[in-house]
């Protein structure tokens, strides 16, 4: 019983953080048709922002607030200097953002060195939950991730900004002719998508190895989530992150991590190959 609760909690926390990264990818794709392979590096930038600020004495929770701002600004620069030039060329967005991911990774290596940076757990100790002792910070992660995912959902479906974002996604030219500044929306969307990745990296940073290679470790599962769930749909992102994150966690509890990864990736490849429109649209 305990083990089931434990695995369930682990799976849930992994799914929620994966969802944060995935949401950013989905919004950027839906809005701009940009397949952002540098998303993992934005996630990494969030973690490094925490590491840097923490080292100079800033309290953890302030760092957590700073991370999305820093990464959001980085996203704004990226949009202006790279992304903007490849709109309408989806394959080139893959390549350009791939180059970007390499460049960001190398910059981190040059500045911080190739070794991992460790970040102290800000909420040590554990909480007894349904009969198991569970690390308290993991619960914080879950709460934050769930709150952010919910907030993203509310912004998209309930706010006036969200209405405009959805209008641009559904008919860019008409939204423009109704006075929506589509150029500014693109900038804002990329910045917000980046900030979501950044805050996910910041939240996760005390729990994982913060090193220059960490981006890819999150990019691939996030990408698989997007494609498995279906591009262009927030619900699809939830389904995708649930499928990938849930299966990974549950399998990892029962076998070597590497074997679990192989199985999950193969499963995802099969789904992408045979249901290319994603599970959400594929079975509706």
């Amino acid at each position: 019983m305990d083990i089931v609760v434990l695995i369930g909690l682990d799976a849930f926390s992994y799914v929620l953080t994966l969802l944060l990264v995935t949401l950013g990818l989905v919004i950027i794709y839906g809005m701009m048709n940009v397949i952002n392979m540098a998303h993992g590096e934005l996630f990494m930038l969030g973690a490094y922002t925490v590491a840097t600020l923490l080292a100079s004495g800033v309290p953890f929770w302030i760092c957590l607030l700073a991370a999305p701002i820093v990464v959001g600004l980085a996203g704004l620069l990226v949009e202006e200097f790279v992304i903007r030039h490849v709109y309408g060329r989806p394959i080139d967005t893959i390549l350009a953002t791939w180059g970007l991911s390499i460049a960001i990774k190398q910059m981190i290596i040059i500045v911080f060195g190739p070794a991992a940076v460790s970040i102290a757990n800000p909420v040590p100790g554990s909480v007894n939950l349904m009969g198991v002792d569970y690390p308290a910070y993991r619960l914080v992660i879950m709460a934050l991730a769930a709150a952010l995912a919910l907030a993203t959902y509310l912004v998209i479906y309930r706010s006036t900004t969200g209405l405009q974002i959805r209008a641009v996604i559904s008919n860019r030219a008409m939204a423009g002719s109704l006075g929506v500044n589509t150029r500014r929306m693109d900038r804002a969307t990329f910045a917000v998508g980046s900030a979501l990745a950044g805050v996910a990296g910041a939240i996760m940073s005390p729990m994982i190895s913060v090193d220059p290679q960490m981006g890819v470790g999150f990019l691939i599962p996030a990408f698989l989530s997007v494609l498995v769930g279906g591009l262009n749909s927030l619900i699809g992102a939830v389904i995708g992150a649930g499928t990938i994150g849930g299966t990974t966690s549950i399998l990892s509890a029962n076998m070597a991590q590497a074997d679990a990864q192989i199985i999950v990736f193969l499963l995802a490849i099969m789904i992408i190959r045979f249901v290319p429109q994603g599970l959400w649209k594929g079975f509706r």
Binding site: T160, N171, A173, M174, G176, S177, L178
Partner: protein, 236 residues
């Protein structure tokens, strides 16, 4: 002149111009109907005015400002409302969300839909929370027009609003629009093939052929009576 177009050229494919040195001027409060057979460049002209197509040469001035090649949102904020061919409502949005989109893009209009559009077309109120895509063509057209009017434009551009809509509804829409326009001093530029609507919403008619304006008719009775005119520009 509220709208002044000089020597405008535009097209979709490099090296081939649909519009070729077109001149057009529209005075404030005028109702202008633009007529001509298919493929003569009417829609291209509308899209160039609202900024959805970048002209390759020429100037477009609106209310004294140069808006040539400006982004669509700039044309919209300058005061040009657009009801495109095929309506282009947001099918997945509710009726009310569609109307809100008419307000949101422009600063200072707030975010709440006032009552008057619902008074003009009560069906929109009734269907307020329905998905817009489920409505009939005529209702969608009413929605598209109200969405444009909510942005409080000075110039309203309508591209074939009667297309695919039954004649009685076309007539109702025409009367509602005419009354609103007269009351608010709205300028109308209408592309239309339906002469019934043209006679309702046109004070002057311009005929377009091969990318330029070839004739202006100020006496609208001629449209009904002058068979030679019709034959020259409209009939097959």
């Amino acid at each position: 002149m509220i709208l002044q177009i000089d020597q405008l050229s535009a097209g979709y494919i490099k090296g081939s111009q649909v519009l070729d040195g077109l001149d057009l001027s529209v005075a404030k409060g005028e109702f202008i109907a633009l007529l001509g057979r298919n493929g003569m460049g009417k829609t291209t002209l509308m899209r160039a005015i609202v900024g959805q197509l970048k002209p390759s040469a020429g100037k477009i001035r609106f209310a004294g400002n140069d808006i040539t090649g400006a982004a669509p949102y700039k044309a919209a904020r300058a005061g040009i409302g657009y009801v495109p061919q095929g309506r282009e409502i947001f099918a997945d949005f509710t009726v009310e969300e569609n109307l809100r989109m008419g307000l949101l893009g422009k600063p200072g209009l707030g975010a709440l839909v006032p009552d008057w559009p619902y008074e003009i077309f009560p069906i929109l109120k009734e269907r307020r929370h329905q998905r817009a895509g489920t409505m009939s063509g005529g209702q969608q057209q009413q929605l598209a027009i109200m969405r444009a009017l909510l942005g409080q434009p000075e110039l309203l551009i309508l591209d074939e609003p009667s297309e695919g809509i039954q004649p009685s509804i076309v007539h109702d829409i025409g009367i509602a629009l005419r009354d609103y326009a007269k009351e608010h001093g709205l300028t109308i530029l209408l592309v239309e093939q339906n002469l019934d609507l043209v006679s309702l919403l046109g004070h002057h008619a311009l005929f377009m052929e091969n990318g330029s304006i070839v004739e202006r008719v100020d006496d609208m009775d001629r449209l009904q009576n002058d068979a030679a005119l019709i034959a020259r520009y409209l009939s097959v």
